[in-house]
Each structure stands twice: as structure tokens, then as C-alpha cells.
Symmetry: C2
Subunit: 395 residues, 2 copies
């Protein structure tokens, strides 16, 4: 009995994304890195913006005394204020520093939030296709992931949601721009969602919290605007990271932002601080809290991502692949030409093209492509995509 039953179960069901990433490493060793076209992991190849590099240089050359010590578990007041000020400007909601908890990325923010909210057996609603890690995060704290469907535009089905919400429901977890579908929720949808949650909360006599996972909110194309869930529902808790907008996934820096008018705000904030501390995060890395303070308005270039998306979308649809054109993030989620998505991605893998089967996101019959990679990888993948498309009579 070395590892616990829950961990063993978690490992067997573990991430298809990481599995493909690791199989990719093996394939690269065997065939050479330039022969393998890895579209499996959302690990941006762009470097952080120049403004980040100069902030780090400034800190390295002029260290602030005490800058590597413990601070309050919630983070530096100046960093929290900077995050709040940017959010307030974007949303028109009066966020202040006291609404912000700095965290070791969005994965930490979600674990902290879920641990704070969940009693053993409480339900957290997610929508398929979902980011597979959500399942593990919810289970960590003995919550039950309740998976609901989306419609043919990958929008959560509100009729199913209305039926599913019950006394055990503690929260919904949404993600727009969405990983893996690339869909961006619009104000009209969020307004309907907010109204439904408001009614259901009133009927149940306790708030249903809306957890909004927003790491891709700056990566949106074609002039589409990000619509803020917090503007449509007061009991919204934002979790975010700078992994994508500042290209810092390895540094683990992000935050929780609670709506200033959220129900039981003070107790939740105390809970977040307690869980940030006791889950072992303690605080978000000090140097990153110093570095990102002045970078709240900065984003990596999205023109490059849009160009990659356009190139790949055009080529794949010309080959006969069927998909919604993604509006944000850096993923595509086409249908597989055969029902068995694992068999399909294994075919692609034979051609040394690495993708992730839809069942890794709770949605068999699709596959995910991550295009936050070098152009030569994207270009090199086309011949494999074409060969498999031909095999299944798409073109």
C-alpha cells in the first residue's frame, strides 16, 4: 500500500495532455526532435515581454532589502493593489487590494478556492469539454465533479444546468476563453447564466458561487471582446494567472479576485488566506510579486497567435476537418473523422503529430490541437494531418 487509493486512481485516470507530452519526449529521442510535431501541451514558446525582462533586471541590480522574506500570506499590499486597480479599470467594478489574494498560479488559486468552499461530497459543476485538471482539483478536497454538457457552439446548456443545481451544489467552474474549445462567452450568455444562478441561489437559500478561470482573457482574436462574468453575477470569484498573458507558466504567479459585493466575502477571504497558507503554497513567489506589479496592463503579442491560428484553421478545414473557428486561447478542438478519438490520435502519432484525444476533456469524438508553438512545427504537422484525413476520406 505505497500510494493512497485516491492518488492511485487519480494517476490511472491521469492527464492525457501530460501523457502525450511525455510520449512526445520519447518519440523525439527516437526520431529526432525536428521530426516530431508536438501540438499536445499548452506550453507557450514565446518569451515574456521585454517589460518583464527589464523588471527582473531592475530587481537583480537594485535588490530591495527584505525582498525574499515572508510577507502576509495574501501577498504584498502593493501588488494586490496593482492587480485590483487594473481589474477595476477593466470591469468598472470597485475591486481594491483587499479583494485580491496572490497565488502560485491559477492551479493554486483553484485549489485554494475549492478547498475553502467544499465540504466532503459537495458538488462542483463543470462543463464538457473541460480542462482535465479540474477533475483532480475538485477531488483533492473530496468534492464531486458534476459534468454537464455544452451545446453545438460549446456554450454551457442552461436547461441542463437549471435541472442539475441542487442542495449539494456549491459552485460552477467556467473557463472563457475556453481550453480546449477556444470559445469566448459573450455578455448575452453570461447575463442569462447570472440570472439563473441568482434565482437558484435564492431558492436554495445559499449562494452558488461562480468560479471564473480567466488565464486566456487577453488572448482573443478578430476584435472579439472579453466579457467579464463578474459583471453579470455578484458571487463571482476570478482565478487567474500570468502563465499565458506574460508567458510565465514556469514561475507560478497568479491570483484570486473576489467580487467586492460577494456574499460572505470576509469569511471567504479568511478561508483563502488560511488555505493558501496550509495547503503549503504559503505565498506566491516574492520575486514574481515584485516583478508583475507594474506589468498589469502588459500582454505578449497576440498577432503571432492569431496568424498561427489562421494558418492552421485554413489548412485543416481545407483538408476536410470540421471545427468551430476558435475565438481565443491557443487551442483548436476539431471533430475526429471516426468516433474513436484515441484511435484517431494514435494514427496521427504514427505520423509523429502529437495531439490530445477529446476524452481527455470529457468529450470523445474530438481532439485538441495546441498551436502555441513554433511555425515549423505547425507547418511540419500538415502532411501528417493530410495523410490521416485522406485515410478517412475527408479529402
Amino acid at each position: 500500500m505505497p500510494a493512497s487509493d485516491r492518488v492511485k486512481r487519480g494517476m490511472t485516470e491521469s492527464s492525457w495532455i501530460r501523457r502525450m507530452f511525455e510520449e512526445g519526449i520519447t518519440l523525439k529521442q527516437k526520431f529526432g526532435a525536428d521530426k516530431v510535431f508536438d501540438l499536445s501541451l499548452g506550453n507557450p514558446i514565446v518569451e515574456p515581454p521585454a517589460e518583464f525582462t527589464s523588471e527582473i533586471r531592475r530587481l537583480a541590480e537594485n535588490p530591495i532589502p527584505g525582498m525574499h522574506r515572508y510577507m502576509e500570506n495574501a501577498g504584498y499590499p502593493e501588488t494586490r493593489a496593482a492587480v485590483a486597480s487594473q481589474l477595476a479599470g477593466e470591469t468598472g467594478i470597485k475591486y481594491t487590494g483587499s479583494d485580491i489574494i496572490m497565488t502560485c498560479g491559477a492551479a493554486a488559486a483553484l485549489n485554494v478556492t475549492l478547498k475553502t468552499l467544499v465540504n466532503h461530497g459537495d458538488e462542483i459543476i463543470i462543463f464538457s469539454p473541460y480542462f482535465a485538471e479540474y477533475f483532480h482539483y475538485i477531488s483533492n478536497h473530496y468534492g464531486i465533479p458534476r459534468v454537464l454538457p455544452t451545446d453545438d457552439r460549446f456554450l454551457p446548456r442552461l436547461d441542463a444546468l437549471g435541472e442539475a443545481i441542487g442542495p449539494k451544489t456549491r459552485a460552477l467552474l467556467i473557463n472563457s476563453p475556453n481550453n480546449p474549445s477556444g470559445v469566448v462567452y459573450q455578455d448575452e450568455f453570461l447575463d442569462q447564466l447570472g440570472t439563473l444562478l441568482h434565482e437558484k441561489s435564492a431558492r436554495l437559500g445559499h449562494p452558488i458561487y461562480l468560479l471564473s478561470d480567466e488565464p486566456y482573457k487577453r488572448l482573443i482574436y478578430d476584435g472579439v471582446k472579453f466579457a467579464y462574468p463578474s459583471r453579470h453575477y455578484v458571487n463571482t470569484i476570478i482565478v487567474n494567472s500570468h502563465s499565458k498573458d506574460l508567458a510565465l507558466p514556469g514561475e507560478r504567479i497568479g491570483y484570486i479576485a473576489i467580487h467586492p459585493d460577494c456574499s460572505d466575502r470576509a469569511e471567504l477571504l479568511d478561508g483563502f488566506v488560511y488555505c493558501n497558507r496550509t495547503l503549503g503554497f504559503v505565498n506566491a513567489p516574492a520575486i514574481m510579486q515584485h516583478a508583475i506589479r507594474r506589468l498589469q496592463a502588459i500582454t505578449v503579442s497576440i498577432a503571432d497567435y492569431q496568424r498561427k491560428r489562421d494558418f492552421l484553421y485554413e489548412n485543416l478545414t481545407n483538408m476536410g476537418y470540421s471545427m468551430l473557428k476558435p475565438q481565443g486561447a491557443f487551442y483548436m478542438f476539431p471533430k475526429t473523422p471516426i468516433p474513436d478519438d484515441v484511435a484517431f490520435i494514435r494514427e496521427l502519432q504514427q505520423e509523429l503529430v502529437l495531439t490530445v484525444p477529446g476524452q481527455g476533456f470529457g468529450t470523445p469524438g474530438y481532439f485538441r490541437i495546441s498551436y502555441c508553438t513554433d511555425d515549423h512545427v505547425i507547418e511540419g504537422s500538415l502532411s501528417g494531418f493530410r495523410k490521416v484525413a485522406r485515410k478517412y476520406g475527408l479529402c
Copy 2:
């Protein structure tokens, strides 16, 4: 029902250390920072060694392409190899990079290890006085903290341990040099402990793991040597951080090191990687993994700590306070002159001297002093200590 029952319970029982730290902030605002003598928190005021500062400068001036991206969840192979090489040199045990998982500090390392090991209701044995956070870490994963006593030298009582180990026991968690007592376990004791655990594991038919929390192992005085638990028991899992030896507590960098001959090593390592990922740590901060790679043999100056300890020990014992002379870490754990340790530290607080009551460490009748602070704070605290000592007839 905003925060979950477990979190609410955790918060009420929450850390005396953090409570005193926070009350200290209020007192400083009221009376002025220079009038309050805060000996409550183990937040070292020393700056990181010059070698660290120049590593950060080197990285800032010559960024490595991709240095802020995701890496394998276990950490950079080069960093893991550097940690292993240092450990192998110190212990004579053949640690290699594959035995090391880089973590966001020791608090993360403990949560990852405990989540990996603990089934709902499994027992983890700790010894009073213990670092209070252990309680929360164990409870996070639905484990049961089983508290056992130490003897009059603050060494775990092996007779009590022998009786307490049963089918539900998964692991023991020890901490030498000890927070709060300052005791350093010696080889003779560890040998007896190892023998007992070996016998008990054989009788139960499953290994009892020894979790060794070693953040203070470089902070030892009077020429006393650190004795490695892993040399006395093969099923030892080290958790460590660079918060104290490199004075980087705000940066959250540490590691897990599993004994290369540990039972079920491969499954445990898989579990650690899985839990590091899904608890939301994902990986230890990338820049710190780059920075500490070449600093494995570096430690802050301990002469300063020893001087502070000697000064405070001599003064307090002269006033009549009774304590074991601490051999390591930067804490003292004297007896309170009255049985009610909370009443006693409140008396000190009236004199604007901040310490932590022993019951915060599961050991009423004592109090903890943290002396990793400025000399003027230590010197300034003496008059308050003297006044309260007189009140209780110590001198």
C-alpha cells in the same frame, strides 16, 4: 455556509504563530515599530548570501531562452541532479536526480508527500512540541495527526511510539533541528528509532515511512553535527527548503528526496509528481530552480545566529527562566513560570514583547522565542522579560 466546515474548524484552531505576528502588526501601528519587540515569527532578517544575488544577476543579464516555461513537474533534471549530488556527498547514500522532486518549499513538499501517502483516516505520528502547521497539512488530506510525547530532553519517547504504531500508521514526521525546541537528534537516537520502525514495519507487513523535515539542518551551533535520519532507516523521505539556509522563505523553493532504496520508490515518486501537479503547485518556481542549482553547498552565516542565541540564552537564564540550551534552528522554548502559557505570553505582550504560547505547539507550559531578528529587537525585549520574571518571582 460560506467556508467549509473543515476550513472553519482549521481557522479557529489556527496558528498561534500567525496570530501573534498579526497582533504584532497592530501593536506596531499603535505604539511605533521601534517600541514593539517581535520574537514571534521565524522570518529571518538576514539577506540571502552574495552568491545567490549574483546568480539572480547572471540570470537577469543573460536570460536562458525558455527559462520561464513549464518544465517536467518534477523540476529541471540539472537542478535535481545538483541537489542529489550534494545530498549524496553529505550522507554517503547514492542519491541521484531521479530521487529528487523540486517543490514550492518544504510546506509544499509535505503536502505532496502526505497526499501521496494518506488514505482517509490513516494516522501520521508527530511529537509534541511540534510545528503547528503539521496538524493542518495532515488534516488537508483527511489524515489523522496522532500526537506522541517527547522526554525531558525533547526527544521522541520510543516506548510511547512502540505502543502507538498500528495498522493505521502510515508515517512518522520528525523535525531536527527542531522547531520550536532547538534540539538536534543524534545518531544514537536515530539508530534506535530506525530499528524500531524496521521491526514494526516487518510485523505490520507494510512500511512505516519516516518523513524527515530538515530545513534547519545547516543551522547548528557549538560544533554539533547534523545526524541524517536517512542513514539509519531506508524508508526515509526528506523534505527540505531553502527558506532558512539561503534565507529565501518568500520564494518557495525546496525539494523532496526519497531514499534510493526506499520501499515502493517508483510508485511513490509517480505519486509525488502527480500530487505536485494536481495540488496546483505544478512545479517549483523556474527562476529559483535555475538560481539554486550552483548554491547547494552555500549557507548564510550561522555565527550571527549563534551570537544572538548566546546573548539571549545567557540573559534569560540569568533572569531565572528555565530552558534547554538550543543546539540548532533559531528558536528557544523555555518553561513558563506559571502553568497557563497563554496568560504568560499575554503578560509579555503587555510589555510589547511578542512570543508564542507552547500550546501552539501542542505543549502548554512553555513558550517559543524566535531570535532570527535584529539585535536591537532582542536587546529591547530584555526589560520586558525581566519585568515579567520579577512579577513571578523568578529573580
